[in-house]
């Protein structure tokens, strides 16, 4: 069926493989659109979308806003820093106020895990999760898998290692779900303190030696150390982390094959990845950003097609 099985995008966990394939197929067409001389199509001209960001974001927020505007939707932006949330308003009250202004879809980033699902069960608008705490970041995982498919032809059978702060990363969890649904083999790599205990229950490999992990994989997805979410010290120093788990050109050159390097951003140059790797032809970081717009257009388009007008 050429239809999403879900009514909201709260996480990859609830998507089927068919859903992901449908999103990719639709994103292919949008990728062509955003490379046209006139990059705008009128599909969503009577849809209003609210971007609610209760947490800081640059890339994701810009990417969503651009995706919405490329499809001619009306867009309202909200950020917690400049809102009544600071005055003690609850999430539901904030959102209901915005919805009274006739908004059809909400794109939300929130520091609490499960916030998007909570919202989707209580409001009469489509909800897209743009990151909920350390839980999921579905559109990032979709664009990562889409970028792998673009580079390697398909995701099935490919070996992907996710390196870094797995414990605090919503990107890691969404990526694991997404890659597994598409038939890839997944490994996580990082210091013991930054790998959650339950992770083996997800059916993935765990490796603590970066060199071994890189020898195994076709794609390495390097994650940032999320210092803002760390409530205690998980490793002695950033310098020590970088020496053990930082990806350098020197390590890449010793590998027996050429692997693809990904990063969801923002990059901390010199910590998880050195500049010569981030700027090398093996890194597809900027392609990921471009694909992000196409993927978000596809997700919004497919969910918006479920909104019926009388």
């Amino acid at each position: 069926m050429d239809k999403l099985s879900v009514e909201h995008l709260t996480g990859i966990e609830h998507l089927t493989k068919n859903d992901i394939d449908l999103i990719f197929k639709t994103a292919d067409a949008f990728k062509e659109v955003i490379n046209r001389p006139i990059k705008k199509v009128p599909s969503l001209r009577d849809i209003t979308i609210a971007n609610l960001f209760f947490e800081n974001s640059t890339r994701t927020r810009l990417s969503f806003e651009l995706a919405e505007k490329r499809m001619s939707a009306d867009v309202v932006n909200f950020s917690a820093a400049s809102s009544s949330v600071k005055k003690g308003e609850t999430l539901i009250d904030t959102v209901n106020n915005i919805l009274s202004m006739k908004v059809d879809m909400v794109v939300m980033r929130h520091p609490n895990p499960g916030a998007a699902k909570f919202l989707s069960e209580r409001i009469d608008a489509k909800v897209i999760n743009a990151g909920d705490g350390t839980h999921e970041h579905p559109t990032q995982a979709l664009l990562d898998a889409y970028s792998i498919r673009e580079q390697l032809g398909e995701v099935k059978g490919k070996k992907v290692v996710i390196v870094g702060d797995i414990l605090h990363s919503r990107v890691a969890l969404s990526n694991i779900y997404c890659l597994q649904k598409l038939g890839a083999e997944v490994m996580v790599c990082g210091p013991t303190t930054l790998i959650p205990k339950y992770i083996s229950g997800l059916g993935i490999k765990v490796e603590h030696n970066l060199k071994k992990a890189l020898e195994w994989c076709d794609v390495a997805n390097m994650l940032r150390i999320q210092l803002e979410r760390q409530d205690m010290k998980y490793f002695p120093s950033l310098r020590e982390y970088s020496m053990q788990y930082g990806l350098t050109k020197k390590i890449l050159d010793t590998l027996s094959k050429k692997i693809i390097v990904m990063h969801p951003g923002p990059i901390n140059r010199g910590v998880e990845i050195t500049s010569d790797v981030a700027d090398s032809d093996q890194a597809i970081i900027l392609q990921q950003v471009e694909n992000g717009v196409a993927i978000r257009m596809a997700v919004i388009y497919l969910l918006a097609s479920q909104i019926k007008r009388q």
Binding site: M1, D2, K3, L22, K25, T26, D28, A29, E32, V33, R36, P37, I38, K40, V41, P42, S43, M71, Y301, L302, A304, S305, Q306, I307, K308, R309
Partner: protein
Amino acid sequence: MERQVILNSEHFELTIKRLCYQLIENHNDFSNTVLIGLQPRGINVLTRIKEHLESILGKEVLCGDLDITFFRDDFRRREIPLIPSATNIDFVIENKNVVIIDDVLYTGRTIRSGLDALLAFGRPDQVELLVMIDRRFQRDLPIQADYIGKMVDTLISERVSVEWKEIEGEDKVVLFTPETNG
């Protein structure tokens, strides 16, 4: 549904050839003309026209495929979302004569979307429309074709299908009429 062949393979071939010569009358050697087929079924007409034109002219004719999904006016009026096909236009249409090609002209809504989609690629000099079948008297919008394979008078309950030997096994045009009771 009752089936009635309204154009058999012999006449089908003649019709395609006639359309090619009509195009040549207006566009000479096609030095400033491009043909754009509308996805999905207009591409079949385009492929056949291109094949004949190139054999008559002895040179390549510039062709592209255009998908109109994101420009349609019936988005969110269907149960299943409209899933796009590929667009392949790897040339500039600025100041070119463009001939839009589709299989059946019915309400005119597809062509309206096609015109909007086309203008996202630039400002052509002139745009014309070629269709294999014109279901006249059924238009929702004031749109007419410049080159017509065959005109047919149909009821709204009827359906016209242009079939191709590469896909359905035989070149023909079929009119489907709902069976009436008595």
